[in-house]
Subunit: 492 residues, 2 copies
């Protein structure tokens, strides 16, 4: 089967799109900038979501649900936040359609059903949620509030890409309220740790943890913590952010609480989110020219068994053997599929499951069965081996662990190879253009310099890493003194 | 603690609102007609959703996600469906806000960012999904498509009520595509059975299964199957619907497939949905004047342990004992909470958990502990008993099963009591006004009569029950011949 996938070296961007579409993860839709998440892609998201949800609950959070719409007057209350998102807001202005008197069977917006106040489709929910928290919080006894929401949000993007940047996307947004600044900062950092753990241990993608420069902060935040991943084309991708919001939203929505000392104070806030964008990171970090490579812990299908037979008698024999193996996989919580669909030949199936990134493929041949062996192929390294049929389940169980670890190690080695210390402006430009990847360089700490570097090279400061080693140096652009290196890259 | 809950006899509607709000399930929001689902209410929804999701997957369905927005031209393609929903559509007309030049810090809709084609916020997703299925379906090999979506939808309602009728609500909508009419009908009926099983076995609410009259059909459907539940005030509530859509959407979106016989045919469709409205049904079917009564299988908290002690030494002793019991609950998958919060007195906690409908309360007293017993109170019957502390977990495990069964039996007995056969128009009106409940009456089968009865009495035909016994009779309104009784009621 010719998969028709563009190679990475030929056109990385087209390769990415081919994988998403031909791998069955998502597709374009009739709505500008919005995608359809197909069953295979959604199953992947479900595994990611369920694991994150578990980790949120283990850290004391509960889910809730707030309205999709934000009245304009609430939306504009926190000015920086409003300014940051105003340019990408979908706005509901009417609440009814009616028959078009001039065009039978067609509908028009009913001009008499104009809303008194326009409704913004949430691009993020701080405003509507803090307006609600005002009613929930009276005293220190009501704090902390540790709430998360799984929801769809809309940000009208001019240039969209499947999963990476779509007008509507799915995400979770945590919104917490605290009595003290220290507690809010600890919460924001805790959730960044949760994200890092998830992305590294489940998605097998290594991340840098750090804090954003002022220019790159979330609109309305005092500090934005982030995890940054490196894609195979040497570009960075922000995989998750957690914001310490100070008292900005409490002030905007007048949310105060009575302290133990009987004083009225503004409440401290955080928010944090990851989205379906993570699927884009997953695809770009691991996959190859043959298709997706999914890490076992979140792969919708961890194992596929493809039988090879001639005639019904052989098929029956293989099916019986496969049923026993499938049952044992199920008992151990391994997600396996037995594909005996006669519409497709084995070779077609091999290519299809390779494209879909299934971590382990078992080929069950009639002749092999007589010899008591099966062939096992792993997707990440493409290695094949012959394994005794009696030990196949044990073998696969261990192999899934190895694949998960190998994928992480490989991605981490790649990141290390593509992380470069640079001390001159010439080298900076050269590494950016030729080698790509993360660049550790000195920066004078000003927004102006950061902006100038971005204008000149399209590189941005991805983060100031946690536990950064102090190091005296000179800013690569201005030569002004600097006390630490920061991480630059071109980014998605 | 005075809960401030209006009694059912005083004002049923206010009682319902009091329970929803004071029980911590949901609250009004700043957006007209939209609610905030609070953590306790959302946890309840999660248990319902997860169980339904499991049942959908067990019947071969997969989840996917389609855009929130439907371009107007797609929305109007299936005319009956469009006509049915046009009057309640929220419409996005612009994609940007900008600073108000006349009002610093305020935003206005940017008139230059007007969409060429308006976007309808989905009131239901047949249009956008069938427009997508057109790309997914070429031949019989692509069928059936068994897809479900968990999503938010918006229907602009003039009169809203928490959970029962809100402008935005959460639901699932299954959308399936089939090669034959028979298969599609079987699917629609299968999913109605799934709904009935869920509502009866998990929510402990008995339902009538049946088919809607033509007047009450979903806009765009050939047949609508439904489950109907009876609330404590004698009004009916439609708890779920499943639609056989014929080839209507396939025709509207030109979705054809190549049959095995090499002929192009239109695809057959179903859709089916239940929503957060089910929570309204749950509350109104079971609760009492003291608060919510939640069935154990979906209660967020199945058991609460309230310690009674004086001083730290007693508290420590009780905590140790409670920890052992809590661990055993956890091992058995029983959701329990130990509430040793010193901010509230035991009496306050008793009232609070009663209000929240926690099925079982265990009172762990210092003196009881010495005697080796605890007090167990069940929420449904309010019975209390003293139980040996060594057998408390076994006891509670059995008790949860009994409570689930008792709640269903009680609701079923109520429905039987409030189901009345009526043969004259006078009796019909009298039963409707005085006794209320389901009324089994003869109807001449015409939409005109149905409409007239509705105008005169506000009663509607809830369904024509499955396996209805044929019975010759005369229509209660017109006296025209009828071959079966149908189910009338006033409804939510």
């Amino acid at each position: 089967m010719s998969k028709g996938i563009t190679s990475r070296s030929e056109d990385y961007s087209q390769w990415y799109n081919d994988l998403i579409i031909k791998g069955g993860l998502a597709d374009y839709s009739a709505v500008r900038g919005c995608m359809v998440i197909k069953p295979y892609g959604f199953a992947l998201w479900e595994h990611m979501r369920d694991q994150l949800d578990l980790m949120f609950k283990e850290t004391g959070h509960q889910n809730a649900y707030f309205p999709l719409f934000v009245p304009k007057s609430l939306f504009e209350a926190e000015e920086k936040n409003a300014e940051g998102f105003a340019k990408e807001c979908a706005v509901v202005t009417h609440y009814r359609l009616k028959s078009d008197p001039e065009n039978k069977g067609k509908l028009i917006v009913d001009p008499e059903a104009k809303l008194e106040e326009e409704l913004v489709v949430r691009p993020t929910s701080e405003a509507i949620i803090w307006n609600t928290y005002k009613d929930w919080i009276q005293s220190y006894r009501d704090l902390p509030i540790l709430v998360n929401q799984w929801a769809n949000v809309v940000r009208w993007e001019m240039r969209t890409r499947l999963f990476l940047r779509t007008a509507e996307f799915l995400w979770q947004e945590g919104h917490t309220a605290h009595a003290t600044e220290a507690e809010a900062i600890a919460e924001a950092r805790l959730m960044l740790d949760v994200y890092a753990t998830f992305v590294e241990e489940y998605m097998a993608v290594p991340v840098l943890k750090g804090v954003k420069s002022e220019n790159e902060r979330f609109a309305g935040a005092e500090d934005t913590y982030c995890i940054e991943a490196l894609m195979q084309d040497g570009k960075a991708l922000q995989a998750g952010t957690s914001h310490f919001l100070g008292q900005n939203f409490a002030r905007a929505f007048d949310v105060k609480f009575l302290t133990k000392e009987n004083v009225q104070e503004y409440v401290w806030a955080t928010s944090w989110g990851v989205s379906t964008r993570l699927i884009g990171a997953l695809v770009m970090a691991h996959s190859d020219d043959e298709g997706l490579i999914l890490p076992p812990r979140i792969a919708p299908m961890q194992v596929v068994i493809v039988p090879i037979y001639k005639g019904d008698e052989q098929k029956k024999q293989l099916s019986e053997k496969a049923a026993a193996i499938m049952q044992e996989f199920k008992n151990r919580g391994i997600r396996a599929k037995y594909d005996d669909n006669d519409n497709n030949r084995p070779g077609w199936k091999f290519a299809e499951y390779e494209l879909k990134g299934v971590p382990v493929r078992i080929t069950l041949g009639a002749r092999d069965l007589q010899n008591g062996v099966v062939e096992i192929a792993r997707r990440d390294t493409k290695e094949k081996e012959s394994v005794s049929i009696d030990s196949v389940v044990d073998h696969v169980e261990n192999l899934l662990v190895s694949i998960q670890q190998n994928m992480f190690n490989k991605a981490k080695a790649f990141r290390e190879e593509y992380t470069t210390k640079v001390d001159t402006w010439d080298d900076f430009q050269k590494v950016l253009d030729e080698k790509t990847g993360f660049i550790l360089a000195h920066w004078d700490g000003t927004g102006e310099t950061e902006e100038k570097i971005k204008d000149l090279t399209k590189a941005t400061i991805r983060c100031i890493p946690y536990n950064n080693e102090p190091e005296e140096g000179k800013c690569i652009l201005t030569g002004n003194p600097s006390r630490q290196r920061v991480v630059f890259a071109r980014a998605y």
